[in-house]
C-alpha cells in the first residue's frame, strides 16, 4: 500500500494552562481522506488539541504540519482551509440560518456567495428553516447548521469536536453519512466522540487520557494490541458477582452489558482460572470477542492509575 499524503502530521504537541499540562507531547498522523476518531474521557485534552490544530491556541511545544502548513507559523493560512465545529453551538442565535451562513461565507471571502449559501441550504435540507432564527432550531438542526457552516468554504480538513453530542440517532446517522461522503471526495475528518458505535465508523482511532496519547490505530489494531480476552457471563445475582470478580486475581475489568457481564483480563490463562468456579453452576460463561468498548474501559482505568 502506497503511503498517502499526510494531512495532519504533528509531533510532541504540548500545552499547559497555568502550570497544568493538558496535552502532553502528542504525536499524530492523519492521512488524506481518513476519518480519524478521537476518543478519551472528559477533560482529557481533546478539545485543546483540536483548538491547537486550527490555530485557536498556540502550542507551548511541539512542531508539525497541518495541510502541509506549519502549525506554529501559518495558523492564519490553515484557518482558511479548515472547517472547525466547536463542541458548543457557536453560531449566532439571533441571526437567521441564512444570515449565519452568509456571514460565514463573507468571513472566508467566498466567490458567488449567495449561490453557495443557497446551495448549502438546499443540500443540507435547511430550506424550511432558512428564515428562522438559529436560536429557535432544535438540537439536531442546530448541529446540521453548524456542520453546513464549517463545510461552506469546502475545507480540505474538518475538525469536529463532539459534533453529535445530544443529537438523536437519526440525525447522527445522517451526519455520519455526510462525513463518509466527504471522505470519499478526499476530505479528511478528525472527529472527537464518546460514542462507541461512532468510533467503529472511523477508519482509525486515537485514545487520549489526561493529556497522554495511550493508543492509536484502527479498531482491529487497538483490540489486538490491548491483549484483552473477554468472557460473557450470564446468570442470577450479577451485581454480587461483579463485586466478587473484581477482587479476584486475573480479572482486570468487569462491566455490565444489559443482562450479562463482560469480564476481561490480559492474561487469558489467569482469567480462565478466575472464572472456573462459576462454570457449570447457575451461571453461563462463554468466550466472546473483545470489543472497542472493553479496550477503552481498560485504557481509561490505566490512564487514571
Amino acid at each position: 500500500m502506497e503511503p498517502r499524503e499526510a494531512v495532519i502530521d504533528v509531533r510532541g504537541i504540548t500545552k499547559a494552562f497555568s502550570g497544568k499540562v493538558v496535552v502532553n507531547g502528542l504525536d499524530m498522523r492523519v492521512e488524506r481522506g481518513e476519518i480519524f476518531g478521537f476518543l478519551g474521557p472528559n477533560g482529557s485534552g481533546k478539545t485543546t488539541f483540536i483548538r491547537m490544530l486550527c490555530g485557536l491556541l498556540s502550542p507551548d511545544a511541539g512542531e508539525g504540519t497541518c495541510l502541509g502548513l506549519d502549525v506554529r507559523r501559518d495558523a492564519a493560512r490553515i484557518k482558511e482551509q479548515v472547517g472547525y465545529m466547536s463542541q458548543r453551538f457557536s453560531l449566532y442565535e439571533d441571526l437567521t440560518v441564512r444570515e449565519n451562513l452568509d456571514f460565514i461565507a463573507r468571513m472566508y471571502g467566498l466567490p458567488g456567495r449567495t449561490e453557495a449559501v443557497e446551495a448549502m441550504i438546499e443540500r443540507m435540507g435547511l430550506t424550511p428553516f432558512a428564515g428562522q432564527l438559529a436560536g429557535r432550531l432544535s438540537g439536531g438542526w442546530k448541529q446540521r447548521l453548524a456542520l453546513s457552516a464549517c463545510m461552506l468554504h469546502e475545507p480540505r480538513l474538518l475538525l469536529l469536536d463532539e459534533p453529535t453530542a445530544g443529537v438523536d440517532p437519526g440525525a447522527r446517522r445522517d451526519f455520519w453519512d455526510q462525513v463518509h461522503a466527504l471522505a470519499a471526495q478526499g476530505v479528511t475528518s478528525l472527529i472527537s466522540t464518546h460514542y462507541m458505535d461512532e468510533a467503529e465508523r472511523c477508519h482509525r482511532l486515537a485514545y487520549i487520557a489526561y493529556g497522554d496519547l495511550l493508543a492509536q490505530g484502527s479498531a482491529e489494531e487497538l483490540i489486538r494490541d490491548s491483549g484483552l480476552s473477554t468472557f460473557r457471563v450470564t446468570g442470577p445475582d450479577l451485581h454480587d458477582l461483579t463485586l466478587a470478580l473484581r477482587r479476584t486475581p486475573g480479572v482486570d475489568q468487569v462491566a455490565a452489558f444489559g443482562p450479562a457481564l463482560h469480564v476481561s483480563g490480559r492474561d487469558r490463562a489467569a482469567l480462565e482460572t478466575a472464572l472456573a468456579p462459576w462454570r457449570g453452576g447457575a451461571h453461563t460463561v462463554t468466550a466472546v470477542d473483545t470489543s472497542l468498548e472493553e479496550v477503552f474501559i481498560g485504557l481509561m482505568r490505566r490512564g487514571r492509575a
Binding site: L57, A76, K79, Y84, S90, Y92, E99, I104, G109
Partner: protein, 379 residues
C-alpha cells in the same frame, strides 16, 4: 496573530452583522434611546455645592493700600485664590475663555484716591458662570469681603475721612450664563455623561457576549483578523453615539432653551475622539470581563468616578486635590470643559484643543492596553 492584510470586506461583514443584532436586541435599543432622554429630564435639576479656592486673576491699575487690602481679604476669605495678575483686557478675555481662572477682578485707576474722596469707585468682578453652582458662594460673599477690607483700612490709616455705608461700588458680571441657569451647564454636560455611560457599557457587552455565548470561538476559527472584529464592533456604536448626541442637543434646545453660542458642528467633529476613547474603554473592559454581568459591573466602575469627579456633579474646583488629580485623568472632565467652552462660550477650534489632547492621550493609552489584552485572550 497576524495583523497585516486588513480585509475591508470582512470588516464590513462584521459591521453588517452587528447592525442586524442591534436591530433584534430590543432592550439594548431601548437603552440607547431611553437613557439619554431619562437622564436629561432627571438631571435638569442641579445639585448645589460651595466650592472654595477658585482661581482668580487680578487686573489692577491702582497700587493703593486699598487695592492691596481687598486682594488680601479675598485670599483670606478662602473663596478666592489669586493665581495670576493680568496685564490687559485681552489677557483677561483669554483667561476666561480658556477656563484658566474662574474670576477676574478689575481695579480701576485711582481706586484708592476715589475712595478717599468718597466717590464710590467701581470694582468689577467678572465670573465664568457656565457652572453657576461654582460661582454662587464667592460672588455672594464678595460685597461683604470688600467693604470690610476697605473699612478696616480706612479705620487704620484714614480715621478722619467721612464715609458712607458702602465706600465701593462692587459690580459682578456673570459671563457666559448671566442668568445662572443651571440647566445651561447641566445639559451640555449630560452629553458627555450619556456618551460615557452607554458607549462604554454597550461595547463591553457586545464583545463579552461573543465570548459568553461561545460565538467568539467560531469567529476566531475563521480567517477574520482581530482588528477587523474590533473595528467592526466599534464602528456601529460610533453611529449610536452620534444619534444620542443629536437627541440630547435637540432636547436641550427644545426643553431647556439652552443657548448655543458656538458651533454645534465643531462639537460633533471633536466628539469623535471622545466617543472613540469611551469605546476603547468598553473594548478593554470586555477583554477583562468573563461574562456580560461582569462587563456591566466594570463599566459602572468606570462610569461612577467619571460622573462624580469630572465636574459634572460637583464643581471641579470645589473638590479636594486628590479628587481633582483623578478627575484630570478622566476623559469626561476634559470633554465637559470642551463642550461647555464651545457651546456656551462660543470657543473655536484653537481654544478647544486645550481640552482635546488629554482625551486623545487617554484614548491612546487605553487602546494600547486593549489591543495587548485582546491578543492574549486569543490564547
Amino acid at each position: 496573530m497576524a495583523w497585516g492584510l486588513f480585509s475591508f470586506r470582512r470588516f464590513l461583514a462584521v459591521v453588517n452583522k452587528e447592525f442586524i443584532q442591534m436591530r433584534r436586541d430590543r432592550m439594548t435599543f431601548a437603552m440607547m434611546v431611553g437613557i439619554p432622554l431619562l437622564q436629561l429630564i432627571l438631571f435638569g435639576y442641579a445639585i448645589n455645592s460651595d466650592p472654595r479656592h477658585l482661581p482668580t486673576a487680578v487686573l489692577s491699575a491702582d497700587n493703593s493700600a486699598f487695592s492691596r487690602a481687598i486682594v488680601a481679604a479675598m485670599q483670606t476669605s478662602r473663596y478666592y485664590t489669586i493665581t495670576r495678575h493680568a496685564a490687559s483686557r485681552d489677557e483677561v478675555r483669554e483667561l476666561l475663555d480658556r477656563g484658566k481662572v474662574q474670576f477676574v477682578l478689575t481695579i480701576p485707576q485711582n481706586f484708592g484716591a476715589d475712595i478717599l474722596r468718597g466717590e464710590k469707585p467701581v470694582l468689577l468682578l467678572e465670573a465664568d458662570a457656565t457652572d453657576p453652582t461654582a460661582v454662587g458662594g464667592p460672588v455672594g460673599a464678595l460685597r461683604e469681603i470688600v467693604n470690610r477690607a476697605v473699612n478696616t483700612e480706612l479705620d487704620r490709616a484714614f480715621p478722619y475721612v467721612v464715609r458712607g455705608a458702602d465706600p465701593v461700588d462692587v459690580r459682578v458680571h456673570a459671563d457666559y450664563n448671566p442668568e445662572a441657569v443651571t440647566q445651561y451647564n447641566i445639559v451640555p454636560g449630560l452629553l458627555g455623561v450619556i456618551l460615557t455611560m452607554t458607549l462604554t457599557m454597550i461595547t463591553a457587552l457586545a464583545i463579552t457576549r461573543e465570548s459568553e455565548r461561545g460565538t467568539m470561538e467560531n469567529l476566531l476559527a475563521t480567517p477574520v483578523r482581530p482588528l477587523e472584529v474590533m473595528l467592526g464592533k466599534i464602528v456601529p456604536y460610533i453611529l449610536v453615539g452620534y444619534i444620542q448626541m443629536t437627541l440630547i442637543i435637540v432636547a436641550a434646545k427644545l426643553l431647556f432653551q439652552v443657548p448655543m453660542q458656538g458651533s454645534v458642528v465643531l462639537v460633533f467633529v471633536l466628539s469623535l475622539i471622545f466617543i472613540a476613547a469611551n469605546l476603547s474603554v468598553g473594548v478593554t473592559l470586555s477583554t477583562l470581563a468573563r461574562n456580560q454581568l461582569q462587563a456591566v459591573q466594570m463599566s459602572v466602575f468606570f462610569f461612577l468616578p467619571s460622573m462624580l469627579l469630572s465636574g459634572f456633579m460637583f464643581p471641579f474646583r470645589g473638590m479636594p486635590d486628590w479628587a481633582q488629580a483623578v478627575g484630570a485623568i478622566l476623559p469626561l472632565t476634559h470633554y465637559l470643559r470642551l463642550v461647555r467652552g464651545v457651546l456656551l462660550k462660543g470657543n473655536g477650534l484653537v481654544l478647544a484643543l486645550d481640552n482635546l489632547w488629554p482625551i486623545a492621550l487617554f484614548w491612546l493609552v487605553v487602546i494600547v492596553i486593549g489591543v495587548k489584552r485582546y491578543r492574549k485572550t486569543l490564547d
